[in-house]
Structures are given as C-alpha cells and as structure tokens.
C-alpha cells in the first residue's frame, strides 16, 4: 500500500518539484546575481538589485505603494459590488440561481484577452461608453478611459467579481437560516437582522475574498499591459517588462521577491485589521 501511494504520487510530485519548486528557488537565487547588460548576468551574491528597487523613492512610492493603492481600491470596489449580488444569489433558487451563478462565474472561463477586447470597444475615445454618456448628458466631450488607470481599475474589479462572489456565497450559504428567523421572531427588522446576524457571519468569506482578489490584483500584469497607459507603474507589469523587454532577469527576480513579501505583509495587516477592529467591535456589541 505504501509503495502504491509513492508510485501514484511520484509523477506529479517530481513534475511539480522540477518545474515549480526549483524554478521558484532559482528566482530567489538569481535575484542576487549581477546584471551585466544585454541578456547577460554574472553569478554573484550581491544586493544590487534589491538596492536598486528599495533605495529608490520612485520605485517605492510610485510603483510599490501605488500598486498597493490601486489593487486595494479595486478589491474594495469588487467587494462592494459582489456583496449584494452574493446575497441575492444565496436567496434565489432553481433555474434563476443557476443562471446567475453561470453569469457571475463566466468571466473566469472566458479568456482575459477576449474580455479586454470587449472593454476596449466600450472604452475607446469614440467608443460605446462615451457615446452613451454623452447621449445621457453626463459629459460634453469624450472622457478618456482606455489606456488610462481608470480602465485598469474597472477591469480589475470585473475580473475580481467572480472570486469575490464565490467566496461570499460560500459563507452566506453556511449561515443557519434559523438564526435570522429567530432574530425576526424577537422583533428585529430585516435591517437589524442583517447587521447583527448575517453581516458578522459573512466576515470569514469577506476576508477570504479580499485576500484572494487583492493577491490577484497586486500581481496583475496582463490587465495593465493591455488597458493601462504605456507608463503604468504597477509592479506586476514592471516584472514583465524587466524580464521580457529589458532582459534584466536578476532585477525582475528581485522585484518578484519584493512583491511576494509586500503582498504577504499587506495580507497579514488586513488579517490583523479584521481581527482587531471588526471582530472585536462585534464582540463588544454583544
């Protein structure tokens, strides 16, 4: 039996070790290499690449902090959008529920480039959104969304929606329906029931959703690449450009290490915030 387990797992584990673990280790290793121009690097143990990033206000403030800001903003927006949707889907049943689920999850199964194409048609200067907004009298002249950070945020919200909704839905459906009924029986109205019962119990789902979507947004490179302006200062895009356009693999690798670290710190901070501020407050209210 033991031998069987090993034989069954070996192919996957060997593949993942060679093509996931070792490459990740390799990224950390070459982040200490020296870049000698062109596509070449020299094997070394220097901190130059880290100093180049961490020692520069431009990278720290205009790239790292800016990415945290944009990613967080988009994450919060997708949570605000997904929460009511998840509530409604949780309440619906049968065919309606399955249609809504399919619509919410379909962006995950329809490719990014395809979705981006649709948004390009909408966003462009003379595009559909502008014609609509001008027609409605919101603007007098076309506003710029395409190749603009607003477009990046809209797309990040769009792509974050399915993950956020799924995560919230999981926690809403886990709530015992008798709790809400009990609250109503003792005279609480719908609004109070929601804030005192449902909302606190969805905190784990909200937290999980925020973590998943923030991680995705923080590392995103395809969205800023396709809809952002040329000089978009998002960290994922910077990694892509340093690796594939400037061929500076040591620098790209060190930014990746910094990115993982920054992303972990933000998530830990978010967890702390959730524990201290929200859960404690709810505790105190009881």
């Amino acid at each position: 039996m033991r031998a069987g387990v090993v034989a069954f797992l070996a192919p996957s584990l060997v593949l993942l070790t060679i093509f996931v673990l070792i490459p990740l280790g390799w990224v950390i290793r070459i982040s200490f290499n020296e870049n000698v121009g062109g596509a070449y690097m020299r094997s070394a143990w220097v901190l130059d690449n880290y100093i180049q990033f961490l020692g520069s206000t431009w990278y720290l403030v205009n790239t790292l902090w800016y990415t945290v800001y944009i990613a967080f903003f988009a994450t919060v927006l997708s949570a605000l959008l997904a929460y009511p949707v998840a509530l409604y889907i949780a309440r619906s049943t049968g065919f309606q529920k399955s249609i809504l689920m399919t619509l919410v999850l379909s962006p995950l199964l329809i490719g990014l480039v395809t979705l981006v194409y649709g948004w390009i048609v909408i966003f462009r200067g003379g595009g559909i959104l502008n014609s609509l907004l001008i027609g409605l009298g919101v603007y007098d002249e076309p506003a710029q969304y395409m190749w603009n950070i607003k477009g990046v945020v809209i797309l990040l919200v769009y792509i974050g929606m399915p993950y956020m909704t799924m995560s919230l839905l999981d926690s809403i459906e886990r709530i015992n329906p008798f709790l809400a009924e009990a609250a109503r029986n003792v005279g609480a109205n719908r609004w109070t029931t929601f804030w005192k019962i449902t909302f606190p119990l969805t905190m784990p789902g909200l937290y999980a959703g925020l973590v998943i979507v923030f991680t995705l947004n923080f590392a995103a490179f395809a969205v800023p690449l396709m809809v952002g302006p040329d000089e978009t200062r998002m960290i994922g895009l910077l990694i892509y450009k340093e690796a594939l356009i400037n061929n500076n693999l040591p620098f790209a690798s060190s930014i990746s290490v910094i990115m993982i670290a920054a992303s972990s710190v933000t998530i830990i901070g978010l967890g702390y915030l959730f524990n201290k501020m929200i859960l404690n407050k709810l505790e105190a209210k009881k």
């Binding site: 033991r2 069987g4 387990v5 069954f8 797992l9 192919p11 996957s12 584990l13 593949l15 993942l16 093509f19 996931v20 673990l21 390799w26 990224v27 070459i30 009511p84 949707v85 409604y88 889907i89 309440r91 399955s98 689920m101 399919t102 919410v104 999850l105 379909s106 199964l109 329809i110 490719g111 990014l112 480039v113 395809t114 979705l115 194409y117 649709g118 048609v121 909408i122 462009r124 595009g127 559909i128 769009y158 929606m161 799924m166 999981d170 609004w191 991680t215 995705l216 923080f218 590392a219 395809a222 994922g236 990694i239 892509y240 690796a243 594939l244 693999l249 690798s253 990746s256 992303s263």
Partner: protein
C-alpha cells in the same frame, strides 16, 4: 416569499451587476456580426469578419497551436491528477498536508511569478523557446483544477465496488477502466473540459513561454488588437467566446460550474 422593498433593491442591483459582467461579452459578439463594425445598433448581419478571421493563416495557425496545446496539457494533467488523487483520497500518510500544498501551489502562486520562474528556469536548462516549455507550463497550470474536481468525485465513490471487482479476479488496470473511471465519469468530463478551456484561454503563462512560431490564439489576438482596431478582432474574440460558452454548458451539465471551479481540497472529507 413576500417581496418587499429591500428585496427589490437587491434584485435591481444584481441585475445591473450582471449587465456589467455581460456587457463586454455582448458587445464583442454584436460587433463581430455587424456590417458597420463599431457603429451600433447593427443594421444587419454579416459573416464577413468571421470569414476574414478564419481564413487568415496567422490565426488558423494560432488556433491549431492552442488546440494541440490544450489537448496535450489537458490529457497529461488529468492522467497525473488521476493517479495522485487515487493516493490522496484513499490513503493517509505522513506529509500529506505538504503534498496537498505542493499540488495546489500553481494556483496559489500569482501567475506573474509562476510564469517568470518557469521562464527563467526553462531558459537556464535549455528548454526555453521550445513548444515543450508551453506544454509544461500549461500542464502544471491546470493540474490543481483537475486534482480538485477528481478528488471531489472520488470522495463519493464506494470503494467496495472496486473490492468486488478485485475479488472476482480483475486486475488493477481492469478495475480502473471498468469500474473506477465509469463511476467518476461526470467528474472526469468536467475536469477535462475545465482544464481545456483554461489552457485555451490562458494569456499570462503563454505570453511568457510562447516560443517564436508557436503563438497560442490569445497571444496572437493580443498582438493583433494592439495595432489593429477592426471587427476581425471581434470575430476572433467571438470565436474564443463561443468555444468557452460550449465548455460552460458542458460543465454546467456535468457537475455545475461552481462545483467545477471550486472543487474540494483532496483528502478533506465533507
């Protein structure tokens, strides 16, 4: 259920959000059959853009690359996943939590880092710039999804069926093909479909790993729409949407989309 004001607001909000989700997809489909390209509403229906997209050798080549890549990656990932899941669901062994984490790692690591790591490593060992690198990247990318779906369907599997087959003298392989696979058929269909559609639509990994001359369709579409703005792009995007829609229907019929995407962590009894 009593329909009150709050429920109406919630319903309205949900429908607006759904419109937001569906808007770019609908627009793309509309433009691809519109004789006036981007001028809406359409005045008629034309297949001209589709014909242009499907007769361009550049796009047909890219479609073949995506198709071959998707099939090879899907089959390899599912073969690997099936073996792994048979061990993960049925046996407990030391280090199981770590094995689970390693198998799930390709979806836990951001695509940017995962692709960069593979890119630098494959270049180092001399596999960069070959079709092998794309196949490896896609296989690993879809493996966790296959493992989750197959694990979920194997968990509901009654092992006494296999024992019965073994007792009447069936070999291990015979049992697998005559008993196990037919029983988890819907899970397997769901897994094959999801893996294929994820590979077919992948952009981040392909853009890092695609060698010259082997450009998958999403990357080709990206380079096209970067410089060209016409309805041929829409027709190409619509082709991708149609294939994804077929996959969505299959997934919905087999296990349900939510179950397929969500799956369950292997070895966790529910």
């Amino acid at each position: 259920m009593r329909i009150d004001f709050g429920t109406w607001m919630l319903r309205l909000f949900t429908y607006v959000a759904m419109a937001f989700l569906f808007f770019p997809i609908a627009i793309t489909l509309l433009v691809s059959i519109n004789p006036n390209e981007f001028i809406l509403p359409p005045t008629g229906v034309t297949m001209e853009w589709f014909r242009a997209a499907w007769t361009s050798s550049k796009f047909v080549d890219a479609m073949v690359v995506s198709l071959v890549l998707g099939i090879v990656a899907t089959l390899s990932a599912n073969a690997l996943a099936l073996l792994a899941v048979l061990a993960l669901v049925r046996y407990n062994f030391p280090g199981k939590a770590f094995v689970n984490l390693l198998i799930m790692s390709p979806i836990l690591i951001p695509a940017t880092i995962f692709s960069l790591a593979l890119y630098v490593f494959l270049a180092r060992i001399g596999l960069g710039g070959s079709i092998t690198s794309l196949v490896i990247g896609h296989t690993i990318h879809v493996l966790p999804f296959a493992v989750r779906i197959l694990a979920a369907s194997l968990q509901n599997f009654d092992t006494s069926l296999e024992e019965a087959a073994r007792n009447v003298g069936a070999s291990g392989t015979r049992t697998l093909f005559s008993i196990t696979l037919p029983v988890i058929k819907t899970g397997l269909i769901s897994s094959l479909t999801l893996c294929f559609v994820l590979s077919w639509n992948d952009f981040p990994i392909s853009v890092f790993l695609a060698p010259p001359g082997w450009t998958p369709l999403p990357v080709e579409l990206y380079s096209y729409i970067k410089y060209q703005y016409d309805a041929v792009g829409a027709a190409l995007a619509s082709s991708l949407i149609i294939l994804s829609a077929i996959a969505i229907i299959i997934l919905d019929r087999a296990t349900g989309i939510r179950r397929a995407i969500r799956g369950e962590a292997p070895g966790v009894k529910s």
